[in-house]
């Protein structure tokens, strides 16, 4: 257990030393919150009585997870493999589950920090209402994080080089954050775009989180989809993981 703790501590420190990671993961959603929250958080009938801030914050939480868990994790794993860092770790007594687990925990920690900052700023500066059901929100956060981290792990396992990993992860990530409701509430999107979103796991992460936050409802089907993605992606990633670039 101790190697996992030490590795996670060091990897987390390294991640927070990365200006781009901090900027895109932590700072960008705050800027968006500032823009969207400037008009206040008054209840709106077209949002089922929730305010704009109540609707966008759950989406931003998913944005933070996806930025760290999918983009960050996939790129780190590919980079560590390409440059031989994984190989150096493998000839030490560090176990595979400790090496990979530390990366999963690191990006989970980054997501958690981002979530805490967003919610604090939202509550203190933008009248964000607290979740209608903390339990439903925490459950949704847990499964959403698991599915995004597993997706990042899968991309980092399957793709051959850092360059292809960056390209493929970006090609999946950017449309996903636009279409799923993470950056823009789905109500604001054209019907055809919403249909595309129906095929993305990220859409269900946003849906489950919003359901818990504004309605206090556990969105069973959405959570089941997230759990299935987390499970399948992890199994495939573990099966196909390579420690060295060929």
């Amino acid at each position: 257990m101790r190697p996992l703790v030490v590795l996670t501590r060091v990897e987390t420190t390294l991640l927070f030393r990365e200006p781009a990671a901090v900027l895109f993961t932590l700072a960008l959603p705050l800027v968006l919150l500032g823009l969207n929250g400037a008009a206040g958080n008054a209840p709106r009938p077209e949002l089922g009585g929730a305010g704009v801030v109540d609707v966008v914050v759950p989406g931003y939480l998913v944005y933070v997870m996806a930025t760290s868990g999918i983009m960050g994790l996939a790129e780190t794993l590919a980079d560590y493999r390409d440059r031989g860092i994984l190989r150096r770790m493998r000839i030490s007594p560090l176990r595979p589950w400790q090496i990979l687990g530390s990366h999963a925990l690191t990006h989970t920690a980054m997501s958690a920090v981002g979530a805490v900052i967003l919610v604090l700023v939202g509550v203190l500066a933008f009248d964000l209402r607290l979740p209608a059901s903390w339990g439903a929100v925490l459950l949704a956060l847990l499964l959403a994080t698991a599915s995004t981290v597993a997706t990042g792990f899968l991309l980092g396992a399957l793709l051959p080089t850092v360059r292809t990993t960056q390209a493929v992860a970006a090609a999946l990530y950017f449309p996903a954050i636009l279409v799923s409701g993470a950056l823009f509430a789905r109500e604001a999107l054209p019907a055809v775009v919403q249909r595309i979103g129906d095929f993305l796991p990220m859409t269900y992460a946003v849906r489950a989180l919003r359901a818990g936050w504004t309605d206090g409802v556990v969105d069973g089907p959405a959570l089941a989809i997230l759990a299935a993605v987390a499970l399948v992606a992890t199994l495939v990633a573990v099966k196909s993981f390579r420690w060295e670039s060929s």
Binding site: R2, P3, V5, V6, L7, V10, T13, L14, R17, E18, Y80, R83, G84, I85, R87, R88, R90, I91, S92, P93, L94, R95, Q98
Partner: protein, 240 residues
């Protein structure tokens, strides 16, 4: 103590990557407490042999025993007791020397004091320096220090002094001799003949996946003026 107790035993090791045969029947025995050289030109199969010995690769055929263990089935035990400095290794650019030592130290059942090790290898001032800002020689010494963290019984040093200036090479050699005095077995992979001649008790020369000479540096040198001329005569480099 029995000075001929074998700590690394490799018998008829073979390993191919697709159509390319990297190791073609290598056998060698390394005794406890000796500095054993594995010499040969680039691509001769040295690194693959070493990688099989630490369980990083699975041999196609042949047997490998390290400290009596099979690295293929017991990699964790082997890695606890064998320290490896790999050729061209890297760490994350922003990881500091101290962080690297902490990460690797955490994995050993018993680890030496990282700060004492850093002092011994002249890295005390660099403890807070990021890996990306270290010089080539400092990186090399860091990897040697990492290889020694677990108080290993066997240390594999792959291209130990490549990229070091002459003074740093001398210092490094002195430290390798210090390891020998502590009865640590050293497997020295190199193509630097002066280094092999200075340090090795015994050595093998590998060329195109096969052992072409074995014995003490004097025996391998034989009639030749130096180990280098003997080596050039033995290996493809001399023909090319």
């Amino acid at each position: 103590m029995d000075t001929t107790e074998p700590v690394v035993e490799i018998d008829d090791l073979r390993k191919a990557y697709g159509a390319v045969t990297a190791v073609d029947g290598v056998s060698l025995r390394v005794h406890r407490g000796e500095v054993f050289g594995v010499l040969g030109p680039n691509g001769a199969g040295k690194t693959t042999t070493v990688e099989c010995a630490v369980g990083l690769r699975r041999p196609d055929s042949g047997t490998v025993r390290v400290l009596g263990l099979d690295p293929g089935t017991d990699p964790d035990d082997v890695r606890q007791r064998v320290g490896v400095q790999l050729q061209q290794a890297v760490l994350p650019q922003r990881m500091t020397v101290r962080e690297a030592m902490a990460v690797f130290a955490s994995a050993y059942r018993r680890a030496v004091d990282p700060d004492a090790l850093l002092a011994e290898w002249g890295l005390r001032e660099q403890r807070r320096t990021a890996f990306g800002k270290l010089s080539g020689g400092q990186r090399q010494r860091l990897f040697i220090a990492l290889a020694l963290l677990g108080e290993p019984e066997v240390v594999v040093l792959d291209e130990l002094t490549t990229g070091l200036d002459p003074a740093a090479r001398r210092d490094t050699w002195a430290l390798v001799r210090g390891l020998r005095e502590r009865r640590v077995t050293v497997l020295l992979v190199t193509h630097a003949m002066d280094e092999a001649e200075m340090l090795c008790d015994r050595l093998v020369v590998i060329d195109r996946g096969r052992v072409v000479a074995a014995g003490t540096p004097e025996a391998v040198r034989g009639e030749h003026r130096s180990l280098e001329t003997a080596y050039l005569a033995l290996t493809a480099e001399g023909v090319a």
